[in-house]
Symmetry: C2
Subunit: 250 residues, 2 copies
Amino acid sequence: MAGLSIFGIQGLPEIEPGTDLAAAIYAAANETGTPLASGDVLVITSKIVSKAENRIVMLEDVQVSPFARQYGERWEKDPAIVELVLQESKRVVRQVGPIFITETRHGFICANAGIDQSSSGGHGRALLLPVDPDASCARIRTSLKERGLDVAVIMSDTFGRPWREAQTDIAIGIAGMQPVTSYIGQVDPHGHEFRVQALCTADEIAGAAELVKGNLSRVPAAVVRGLTWERDETGTMQSIIRDSERDVFR
Amino acid sequence: MAGLSIFGIQGLPEIEPGTDLAAAIYAAANETGTPLASGDVLVITSKIVSKAENRIVMLEDVQVSPFARQYGERWEKDPAIVELVLQESKRVVRQVGPIFITETRHGFICANAGIDQSSSGGHGRALLLPVDPDASCARIRTSLKERGLDVAVIMSDTFGRPWREAQTDIAIGIAGMQPVTSYIGQVDPHGHEFRVQALCTADEIAGAAELVKGNLSRVPAAVVRGLTWERDETGTMQSIIRDSERDVFR
């Protein structure tokens, strides 16, 4: 593969409910002298999608169940947040003290169902993950196509992982390409089958984009340019969500 | 942060036991017109370090324990590989059918202790992970410094993860920088503390480098250029290995 360049899209306005993200990203990229080009992979932080799709909840409006109240008070977590985590989840994977790891409705396993109180417009509000991140990415891809740009779109979020400290950005939505590059059946120069059979390119792209977006800077979108990717409108993140039958850690 | 460029180092020779990796990488980068520069992060695949450090084992020389023989035969795994996995491990984390996930002596949790039969010079041989990946990275960093280059060095390997299909490249060794970027105590524009407290930059860099190295192509080293990183000779991967006390998945 050839070299890549990765850069953040500067100059995005504060995203509000109803903001046309594709239009805002397209305009900002042009105005700051780094226009998008066909073949780019656009990586957007889930936060701005959640804001644009009005996934904002006022905590005072949340009906808190007795369990959420008890658990929240016991571990000094906002009971309204605990309630939202349960509402956004299919299943609790681990609940150890204040650590609350669930499987979201999408099938992602993360702390607090990916709910974010930071950058959500101040205290007393929470940002939920988009309802259907793949569909959100597809809408942005389609809208950019209407502007003449054939761009793959990946939505990223920042997740922890077992066994290793600190978090990384990974993909939670995709459009225009498959999230996985498969090496199954391919052999190395010695005719030996690869130990590595499939790489989650989408997660590697999301992490790479974080290196330029940062979590502090106000750069919620980045471009990965120079990657060879196969157009595929059937790509979704569902293909990398492991069945619990195949998962030895659930 | 400014933009990044990421490119593979072409033209590396086949690495043999005793190969001076820093010299080989320095020469190949110069000869192929992409010389290293101070400020770069050099990402090297563990495989070539294992080869250079002669971590090659002839399977016929392995003394196989009765357990390894029985388990290997039961699940159609080479008993010599099973034995090597046990020898390279502190602890078995999960053993479910043919899935054999252990904690290596370094503290990494992965399948088969990171032992690789592919690209190890053909059948009947296995490649073990380097004994001390941080030290291997430090030697390469020092050797490049002697050539006037102040380059951070990250060793990558390809690991699976719970809950998600496919693998990603992550860091298993580092020199010259800390693997984690901390946001602890920092607040967002609304004065709200960040949900994200620390990012494992080293893992994101390793994954980004995989996008240009690929697993099939013979490009075992890549450069990430344009990243702002703080020189720190005390950085090791040990700081991201989570204590089992803090780990709810062990």
